[in-house]
Amino acid sequence: MIRPWIIAILGVVCALAGFITFYGSRTAEYRKLEAECGPELAWIKKEFRLADDEFERVKKLHEAYKPVCAEMCRQVDEQNRELARLLQTAQGVTPEIEKTLGRAAEIRKECQTGMLSHFFRVSQAMPPEQGRRYLAWMQAQTLLPTHESMLPKIGAKSDDDRDAHR
């Protein structure tokens, strides 16, 4: 006759075994994918169900675009800093501010053009149906924001507010 406390412990072991088996098996694919591709590209491969050769093409395009994107980010930051500096002392829209805004608009245009070109190239590296889906999703996320999505949400605190309360 097995003692009751042994069965009680065995029950806990059973519960742990069930948890580990199901949790492990259902997340294994994600862990493997993230280890192989990194978090950025893992999403592309999983979401658009890319075969290995298609994924390799997308990966090459992604790696080539990353430094271009970083340079654009640097230019955007530089323009934002310049604009913030001018606005600190300005009483109205000065010619300098106008010039900086013009330059910021140019950079924005360059960024959007570069980004959109990259999206097209990536979509062409995918199977046609997945490419169309990718393009539609990326455009919706980046270039076609609704007016509502640009407005701050009611009750949501801005980053500045949060910083001020720290």
């Binding site: 006759m1 059973c14 997340t27 978090p39 950025e40 999403w43 979401e47 930051d77």
Partner: protein, 118 residues
């Protein structure tokens, strides 16, 4: 000015109470009995909780001794553990996909001018 003497101020009830003597005697070992009863009442309330736990444990033990009770206990815990695993893995998968999507957008979208809502 009052002209009453101290004897005239005395309350008749007070006088009566002073003259009253208790003649009844307490039962033998009265004090000891009172303390014993208090002690017993305290012990009864404390042991009712521990008795409840002991009873529960004994009930569980008797259930686990029967093969059908042990099988029911083991399979219940196995099912609970497995369902928790499924539930937690679903949440983990959702969170991972959101994080991956955000990481991709961060990598390909130059920062400021674009509305970005992953």
């Amino acid at each position: 000015m009052s002209t009453k003497t101290p004897n005239q101020d005395r309350d008749p009830l007070e006088e009566l109470l002073k003259s009253w003597k208790v003649e009844a005697t307490l039962p033998p070992r009265f004090q000891e009995d009172v303390w014993r009863r208090i002690d017993r009442a305290e012990q009864r309330s404390a042991s009712s909780i521990s008795k409840w736990f002991i009873g529960l444990a004994a009930h569980w033990a008797s259930l686990l001794r029967k093969p059908i009770g042990a099988a029911a206990y083991l399979s219940t815990l196995l099912i609970v553990g497995s369902l928790t695993g499924v539930w937690r893995s679903d949440r983990k998968v959702d969170q991972t996909e959101i994080a991956w999507r955000a990481a991709y957008l961060q990598a390909v979208v130059p920062a400021a001018p674009f509305a970005y809502h992953p």
